[in-house]
Subunit: 156 residues, 3 copies
């Protein structure tokens, strides 16, 4: 068992099946040592969007649910990363996460929500999980998901 | 004539002139084997924004028009790609498209709109056109365009 | 003194201290010859958000203030770039800037605002500062900042 798989097991984290794309694209592309992961939404391991993670932060979705939603997105990012690399130990670095929060126009604590994704990355990959990040509040997301997260990774 | 030019011809697709940037930046930058294309809006081959592609999805712009707008953006992305590479056969892979949809806060079928761009990429480049993708609904876009698409490509 | 430091001095531009991230991530990551800079907001050199740069374009923040805010974001991007490279002369090219404007849904002159960032990049780096760029109007930004700018650079 790989080192990262081992850490996942220690943390009690089970990766969901890598979600299929919602349309005519692929979930991940490798170019040289970079892997780009398509925007992942907060579907659960059952491939469904829980009511709790549907809607806007600041207008129905609680901060706690938003943070959980961001963590779910990050889990899906890692599931895609595993699917394309075949082995999470091949990950050299999480280079960047982009966080899109479905938010009311006056909901400003966006970084706290996105920490749900960032914290998971560091829990699992340690220092290699520390990434550059952009977080913005958008008008709406596919399926009215509360959060969408995209990623860029360096792999060996 | 190159293979991709040949396919464009077979498909009856004529690339527009590569649009000039709206401000103090360049439409494309190459770094190593990566080419980054600036966000392209849905201007037509005449360099103008048709009324049909102006405004928000879910608030005036129809789904059909939105999909056409996304396709126009992708055409402009490819026109920029041709301008910087000189030869579309140099394209190894469409790595990523970012799709920004000018949308009302309750317009959730964003992936369907963005398919206008993704489908064109696959029509033209085949498997090399399959890309990672992030689609979000934004509050507003330059010139009130319905769609903006940015790209990252691997070239040889 | 390096060439770029020299130009900064000639222009009378003093880089702010590189802002600390707002949460559990890092401000910049290098992967090969690419450096990705996390989204930087329009905090001043004192690490604070001036009232003038707080809120939405088209709903309280003036165009002039928006442009200044974009310039501040770009200054912070360059401060992060200096912190990670140690020497701005190592910058080969500004590959891409992503500009997120906190905007009312009917505020369309977004490119003019983002020029505050792009112009600074070209002032400082000359032709190497000419970048691909995507500019979008978002629903809200962290701390209700008027502008957020992220960057990708090629370095030697």
């Amino acid at each position: 068992m790989g080192m990262i798989e081992d850490r996942l097991s220690t943390l009690g984290i089970q990766l969901p099946p890598a979600p299929a794309p919602a349309a005519n694209y692929v979930p991940a592309v490798r170019s040289g040592n970079l892997v780009v992961i398509a925007g992942q939404v907060c579907f659960g391991a059952d491939g469904k969007l829980a009511d709790r993670y549907k809607g806007k932060l600041g207008a129905g979705v609680s901060d706690e649910a938003g943070k959980e939603a961001a963590r779910l997105c990050a889990l899906n990012v890692i599931a895609q990363l595993k699917a394309i690399t075949g082995d999470l130990d091949a990950v050299v670095r999480c280079v960047r996460l982009g966080g899109f929060i479905n938010a009311a126009p006056d909901f400003t604590p966006l970084p706290v929500i996105m920490n749900g994704a960032s914290d998971l990355m560091v829990e699992i990959f340690g220092d290699a999980g520390r990434h550059a990040r952009s977080t913005v509040g958008v008008a709406v997301l596919p399926f009215d998901c509360a959060v969408e997260v995209e990623g860029m990774f360096e792999v060996r």
